[in-house]
């Protein structure tokens, strides 16, 4: 074979060899020569063989071409090698750089760790509270079904038994449906002190709906929801261990609840908890008994809206569709039955609403968590800007190195990647440290949680949190490294290389970039500080609210008489009358009283009422909170009586009923009139209750919490409308807590089986009502401190740098006769300009941002000028202080040294 002639003859046809050359271009350079040679050798060898056999023809050439095309896949699959190799170099080089400047690395890693730590901690809370489904089977599909009289302000009512039956039979949106209502039972067992335990009456369908199976024994059968077969009980794992020593032969044993015997059917698994601990209307039940609906009551649609209804939507039904269907059903109720409209057909706004169980449980924490998440992302941005600034300073010092690399043929892209690798290394180290901080931080957070954070016990760092942390770290690396990398790689080769060792001039652009970063940091820090400031201001206002009562030296205790034993409410009245008489004679007791509601506990019952002689206005139903109290309640709590009198022992059963109203009620319903002597009653004018005459007006007390404006409330004497569950208030001369044993003793002297729960001082009750806010404030305060620290070190760094830059100029000025003061002013002015620019931007940002936290504030607007002003002054002041140190340094410059300084 003649190579030359061969070459000439086949040149136009040897497309396969050109392909190899061409595709070889994308093979990593290190491998390229070998790669090309291997492919070329195979193709040429095959060619030569074919030619030898005289078969290099139209049939074999496409095959050669096809084979050479396969090299593209080979080349593509070699791509990771290129990245691997260079990335490895980058990482090694980056590590070396960081090790050589441990100070910078440490500061950057700490800044990032604070940012990532805060974000990871808050995200792990968001993850546990909002993102992770509840621990029930397919919990995402579970919804609560509420009845509402929207026009009466009565929302999230349960269902009457008849309504539950209608939901089951007339709606087609649920695959499963269950009802439960809450009860508490006195558990009496020989050998144990009587204990009040929380329980639930449930339909048998509840456990399958939740996907719960008994750990021992069984759950309920449907026929156990019938009277006569309902004396069975399922107990929680906790109770089983606590009271039965985890006895494996528990099934069939009996339990005495409220004096009645129940056969134990089963024990629930340890991880099962229902209602969820953060369900706002009830505590997790320790005993479950079958609910029995009274057929007569169902037929007459009587009974209370006391049954919680929980359903699982059909797979093919969206929440929207289900809502529409249930509303249609609500409409038929209004048309077909009495009781959904007023006596004259007034519209009470009856609606059936569906709410995902998850959002019932997480409730109002959603806004607070989103605000926190927003705040910590601002903190992370500040950390990014801080690190970017540090890296920019580094890049300035490394300009020479970079210029040399560029001159030696490194591409700009390669330099950028190198610098980004370094910032990513910092970010990942910071992220790892941040993860550690977050782990400690969330543990602390859970410990400090005053109970306002739902699902706190479920907070943990899981896979999703780890992914978040890694993603946040990578993003941080890019964010903080990109601007410095872009700036550094734009080096002016000629100038940089020509310059001799000493101070590197830096371009105006770079200084501008640093200024921009510091301005941004201050702006972001201001936003965080404003949020924290607004929370602090709200909190201070809240603690200054006069609760209208004297909570010092008052002990509270809850007593809940079982309905089975005190079926007649007069019995309950007698019990409490006897108790009060005993308590008031105890040594150290100044006065005592009872109420069906503890002030500030958040429990307030709003119900419609009627005023004698006033027609029902369908558009303005009269709704007010009401509670039953004993004589002495107002005196014990120090609530002043403004008009009329307190209840007395003569306001007994059988005499004309009386009532006391609060100021807000007097103001609302009898403006400029004397309410004394007016008569009102619970419910509609034709309701069976008796008219009660108003005998007194008392000061408003914040029943619903310090942060809610006083609403109309009225009080009924316990003797005339007795309740079984009451809170006892005792004012003592000495330490109230010392009295708790005596109170328990007196209660059990009357009824040995009667437990006493919730003993605490009234101050504690009030304090815990503001605890959630204090907790939020604490978190925001910590994040604000971090933001302030990061932005202050940022401005300090930049100022130090600027001062160093201008040493010569300052020396010259001083040599020419400038005063120290002038120099100081000159330097501070620069810092002030940055701080003010940042503050201005931050104020604009704050106005936009604080709007979302409106619902978390109390007594101030989201753009409270005083808060904005104080925070701005604080930040600018701190920024100036941070400038002061480097500025002072500038004034100490020795003109001679400075001028000699090259």
């Amino acid at each position: 074979m003649q190579p030359d002639s061969d070459h000439n003859r086949e040149r136009p046809l040897r497309l396969w060899l050109s392909l190899i050359r061409f595709i070889g271009l994308i093979v990593p350079r290190r491998l390229r020569a070998d790669w090309r040679q291997e492919w070329e050798a195979e193709l040429r060898w095959r060619e030569a063989q074919l030619a030898e056999w005289g078969r290099l023809d139209w049939r074999s050439k496409p095959d050669l071409l096809r084979r050479s095309l396969g090299s593209l896949r080979d080349a593509l699959l070699l791509q990771p090698r290129r990245l691997e190799d260079e990335m490895f170099q980058d990482v090694r080089f980056g590590m070396r750089m960081l090790r050589r400047h441990p100070g910078l690395a440490a500061v950057a890693v700490i800044a990032i760790a604070l940012g990532i730590g805060a974000n990871t901690a808050v995200f792990s809370v968001v993850n546990a509270v909002l993102l992770r489904p509840l621990a029930y089977r397919d919990a995402d599909g579970l919804v609560m079904v509420w009845g509402n009289f929207l026009k009466l302000g009565l929302e999230r009512l349960g269902a009457k038994a008849a309504e539950y039956a209608d939901y089951r039979h007339q709606s087609h949106v649920f695959a499963e449906l269950a009802a439960f209502n809450m009860a508490s039972f006195s558990l009496t067992e020989s050998g144990y002190a009587p204990e009040r335990i929380s329980g639930a009456r449930v339909t048998a369908s509840l456990f399958p709906l939740l996907g719960a199976q008994a750990a021992a024994g069984r759950t309920f059968a449907p026929d156990e929801n019938e009277a006569g077969r309902d004396k069975v009980v399922i107990i929680s794992h906790g109770l089983w261990q606590r009271r039965f020593g985890a006895d494996l032969n528990i099934a069939g044993k009996t339990l005495v609840l409220d004096g009645q015997s129940y056969a134990v059917a089963g024990v629930l698994p340890a991880d099962f908890q229902f209602p969820h601990r953060s369900f706002p209307f009830a505590e997790p039940a320790e005993v479950f008994v079958p609910i029995v609906f009274d057929a007569a009551q169902v037929a007459k649609r009587e009974g209370q809206w006391e049954n919680f209804v929980i359903g699982r939507l059909n797979r093919n039904v969206t929440l929207q569709q289900a809502r529409a269907q249930m509303n249609a059903l609500a409409g038929t109720f209004e048309q077909q039955y009495r009781g959904y409209r007023g006596p004259n057909g007034e519209d009470g706004g009856w609606r059936i609403t569906l709410e995902p169980l998850q959002s019932v449980v997480t409730g109002s924490s959603r806004t607070a968590l989103f605000v926190l998440m927003g705040i910590v992302s601002l903190v992370l941005l500040i950390a990014c800007a801080s690190v970017a600034n540090l890296l920019l300073a580094r890049a300035a010092a490394r300009q020479k190195e970079i210029a040399v690399r560029l001159a030696m043929g490194a591409t700009r892209r390669r330099i950028i990647r190198q610098l980004l690798t370094e910032s990513s290394l910092l970010a990942l180290s910071g992220g790892a440290l941040g993860l550690l901080l977050a782990d400690r931080g969330t543990a602390l957070l859970v410990r400090l949680n005053p109970g306002s954070l739902p699902r706190a016990d479920e907070i943990s760092i899981d896979g999703r949190v780890l992914i978040f942390t890694v993603a946040a770290s990578v993003l941080t690396g890019l964010l903080s490294g990109l601007a410095p990398a872009l700036a550094a790689s734009r080096a002016d080769l000629n100038r940089t290389l020509k310059e001799s060792g000493a101070p590197l001039l830096t371009g105006w652009r770079r200084i501008q970039l640093r200024h921009l970063l510091v301005t941004g940091e201050i702006a972001l820090a201001l936003m965080v500080l404003v949020c924290a400031g607004l929370m602090l201001n709200s909190f201070l206002r809240l603690t200054r609210v006069n609760p209208g009562l004297d909570a010092q030296q008052v002990l509270t205790a809850e007593i809940s008489l079982p309905a089975a034993k005190y079926a007649d409410r007069a019995q309950a009245a007698a019990f409490y009358e006897q108790l009060l008489a005993k308590i008031t004679t105890l040594p150290g007791v100044q006065s005592a009283g009872l109420s069906s509601i503890t002030p500030l506990s958040g429990a307030a019952i709003d119900d419609p009422f009627s005023i004698e002689g006033r027609p029902l206005d369908p558009n303005h139903f009269t709704v007010a909170g009401h509670q039953t109290i004993s004589p002495g309640f107002f005196r014990t709590l120090g609530i002043s009586i403004l008009q009329g009198r307190d209840f007395t022992a003569s306001d007994a059963a059988g005499v004309p009923p009386v009532a006391i109203i609060n100021e807000a009620m007097a103001r609302t319903y009898w403006p400029n009139q004397n309410p004394l002597g007016q008569r009102l009653k619970l419910g509609a004018p034709r309701a069976p209750a008796n008219w009660a005459a108003i005998v007194g007006v008392v000061r408003d007390i914040p029943h619903r919490g310090l942060d809610s404006a006083p609403k109309p409330d009225w009080y009924l004497p316990h003797a005339q409308s007795p309740a079984r569950t009451m809170t006892l208030f005792v004012r003592t001369a000495a330490d109230p807590a010392a009295l708790s044993a005596a109170i328990r003793r007196e209660v059990q002297a009357i009824d040995a089986a009667q437990p006493v729960t919730g003993i605490s001082t009234l101050s504690q009750v009030i304090d815990s009502s503001v605890a959630p806010r204090r907790f939020q404030l604490l978190l925001l305060g910590v994040f604000a401190a971090v933001a302030l620290l990061l932005s202050t070190t940022g401005i300090y760094g930049v100022m130090s740098y600027l001062v160093a830059q201008r040493t010569r100029e300052v020396g010259l000025r001083l040599a020419l006769g400038a005063q120290t003061r002038d120099v100081l002013k000159l330097m501070l002015r620069q810092g002030l300009t940055l701080a003010l620019a940042g503050a201005a931007l931050g104020l604009i940002g704050s106005i936009a941002v604080t709007r979302v936290m409106k619902s978390l504030l109390y007594g101030i607007s989201a753009t409270d000028p005083a808060t904005f002003a104080v925070v701005t002054l604080l930040l600018v002041g701190v920024a100036l202080a941070a400038c002061w140190i480097p500025a002072r340094r500038a004034t100490r410059v020795d003109p001679v040294t400075a001028l000699r300084y090259e």
Partner: protein, 109 residues
């Protein structure tokens, strides 16, 4: 590395071809019927995991044929073990032992 458990079927086929003495990329393609876009990446992976080593052909031989030296591949000891493991898993391999090469044959007539 090099556990037979991770061998794909095509990798096992390639190992077997090498075992039968087909040492060049194109020869392996001929005998296994696999496309070049599969054979080469597979060879590189096998080499990376130590089942296969590659060597360049002697320069003198290539020069005589007026082409660049070819690269040939050989099984390592681990490669042979991996192949034995893989054969156990992919029984059909045993039945489809490579037939004599379908190399281009001299022109007829």
């Amino acid at each position: 590395m090099g556990s037979a458990g991770y061998l794909s079927f095509s990798a096992a086929v390639i190992l077997q071809a090498l075992d039968h003495g087909y040492r060049y990329g194109f020869d392996i393609m001929d005998i296994t019927g696999l496309p070049s876009g599969t054979v080469y990446p597979a060879l590189r992976r096998l080499e990376e995991s130590g089942l296969v080593v590659s060597k360049w052909e002697k320069h003198s031989i290539a020069q005589a044929a007026q082409r660049p030296p070819r690269k040939y591949y050989e099984l390592t000891r681990e490669g042979r073990e991996a192949l034995a493991e893989a054969i156990k898993r992919y029984r059909p391999l045993e039945q489809n032992k490579p037939q004599p090469a379908r190399r281009p044959k001299p022109a007829r007539g």
